[in-house]
């Protein structure tokens, strides 16, 4: 047996990773995003995407949506640690596979090329609520709203049709039906 030379224990078995969407309602005050993001980085949790904006100007509440991956134990810790932060009001957690929750990301795609290329590009985007926001004789800016994996695929497919620039938001989430998360 190789003798360990550390006074710390060796890592144990790692559990299976799942993707979760964590939604956090916070006071919209200076530094609150740094608190939330800092919690993730200091404890070694991952952030795949992050979206944040004020949703209630009267009560001064912002809604932060974070896509993260982790073992069930880590996801549980993320929720409990977030709840301990003073400006945090409530924390919701959705599994990516959850059918009762809608997830959306938005992307702006700039395609530069001749007519044919631009039309082909539009065709690729058609399924994903494509809206043309800007047009010139050489270029087009397309807005799409879709799931992360769809946008990934789209930007891959658009390469050959002259995609020159991509700007994407993090995911936002909302439950289906009349219920809201309390």
């Amino acid at each position: 047996m190789v003798k360990s030379r550390s006074a710390y224990s060796v890592p144990g078995k790692q559990g299976k990773f799942d993707t979760h969407i964590i939604v956090v309602w916070v006071d919209n005050e200076a530094g609150v995003l740094a608190r939330v993001a800092g919690l993730f980085s200091s404890r070694g949790y991952s952030i795949e995407s992050l979206a944040v904006a004020e949703v209630d100007p009267k009560l001064n509440i912002s809604r932060i949506t974070i896509v993260t991956t982790g073992t069930p134990q880590v996801i549980e810790q993320i929720k409990l640690q977030l709840k301990k932060l003073v400006p945090v009001h409530k924390v919701a957690d959705f599994k990516k596979e959850d059918k009762n929750v809608i997830f959306r990301e938005m992307a702006l795609l700039k395609v530069v090329g001749n007519n044919l290329k631009r039309e082909k590009a539009l065709k690729v985007c058609k399924k994903f609520n494509a809206v043309i926001l800007d047009k010139s004789s050489k270029s087009v800016v397309i807005q799409v709203t879709a799931l992360r994996k769809d946008i990934d695929l789209m930007s891959k497919n658009l390469k050959k049709f002259g995609l020159v620039s991509v700007s994407r938001t993090g995911a936002v989430a909302m439950t289906r039906g009349a219920e809201i998360f309390k």
Partner: protein, 588 residues
Amino acid sequence: MSKLYSGAEIVFKCLEDQGVEFIFGYPGGAVLPIYDELKNHESIKHILVRHEQGAGHAAEGYARSSNKPGVVLVTSGPGATNAVTALTDAYMDSVPLVCITGQVPTHLIGTDAFQECDTTGITRPCTKHNWLVKDIKNLSKTIHKAFEVATTGRPGPVLVDIPKDVQFQKTNYLKFKKKNKLNSESYNQFSQKNIDDLIKLMSKASKPIFYTGGGVINSGPKASELLRELVNVTGFPITSTLLGLGAYPGYDNYFLGMLGMHGSYEANNAMHDCDLMINIGARFDDRITGKIDEFSPKSKKVHIDIDPSSINKNVKVDLPIVGDVAKVIGSTIKTIKKVKPNFAKSNKQKISKWWEKIQKWRSINSFDFVNSTESIKPQYAVQRLYELTKNKDTYITTEVGQHQMWAAQHYKFDKPNHWMTSGGLGTMGYGLPAAVGVQVAHPNKLVIDIAGEASVLMTMQEMSTAVQHSLPIKIFILNNEYMGMVRQWQELLHDKNYSESYTAALPDFVKLAEAYGCVGIRATKPDELDDKIIEMINTERPVIFDCVVDKEENCFPMIPSGKPHNQMLLGPKDQKENKITKKGKTLV
């Protein structure tokens, strides 16, 4: 119109309303308005330290020995950054601190002004919460909130950063309404069903153990009383973490000694072999669990804690109970008395075999050491110190290293709040300033810092604080000229390559004591130790005691790295007498 107060006045009005008696601090440019106001508030005494880290640790010592929040007041920039170690220490060990820092005027924030730093940014990961008060109208509300956050739930440090211009501005003072019961409803999430489930597990168990931690101390003296009653009512064995020592008497027969890396053989083996582990206010730290995969493999685990995020963080438990320790133990005792009034008696038979097994482990006497008539063994020194001070309501602080473990092993605490040590962060240099804080809280009590010569040099300047404020602390240095724990690990894990762990050119501690205007005592032989210790106790001024001990003594027993609890490395006596188990032997 009501009277207008300046920001500096509001700071003191808040402190007065919070019942603060002492501030530990150091002045500087950005807190001068607050220091200017100090003279008008007689009920608040300022303890001037020599370094802001010392202020933080002193406030920690004050808080832990008195169950009140410690208050720190320092300036911007270096004042704030120097306090970071103490804030982190308090965060790890759940000590309630309120740190007030000065900041450059609001219009200069972000311009790299003189003595500016991003204080709230730097201290965000080492406080429960912090605030930068840019608007005078929020000041009183924020300071009161700061005290609430620091002292409720799992306690911890908070920081309020006040720009200098805000300290001058004027506004109304908002009186604060004290909530009747802190730590009430929102923190006690447990139900009677949880308690019933716990009692069900307890009556089924044949190899139970209580594993208690600093949470019992933080819950207040009542929790320690209830813990003693709970052990009596159940007849279960109990072990404690480093920070939990004193919650249960160290000399009692039910007590198996401290557990963990340098814990007792019986405590660690009992943790490994038990079938029911009841964790009360501890957090499954890695120095306790060793290798997680092999940690107490056959037990049902119960975890009682006020902080939901401490539960299932490191170790998955079967029954989580979220609540204040005193409340949970209280309900448990009440229910046991109602449902099974003769619990201990009826259960005695069932756990008698378990106790037999524990006695067998105990007979190994794992804290034992080979004593000497030539040189002072550090363990012997702590034992003598204990014997000579145990009837004096003594408060003990420590630095970090071998001496800390020997103090924990050989000093038998019997009361909560009498043991102050840096557990989570392991801060060398904690003990001396902590002793200053303890002595401030308990001016007529004997306060001893059991120290190592390397640790104590990190904050030695605070002797000057002790002298200035007539705080007769006793610094009992186990001087082996090495960073002992570093040397031990190098001996055991790095082929005796003692890289940079020997301190050449140490000061003469007796002369150093005299230079600070306190008393220096040196002991070099075992037969003079008792007399010298008595001389130290009887000295009414601060003392530096240079106890020259065996240079190469190691701290045993020890759980080697990556090993489970039942594979402990025992001391030289056991190794020589061949008493150790087969499993233990393979490791030597």
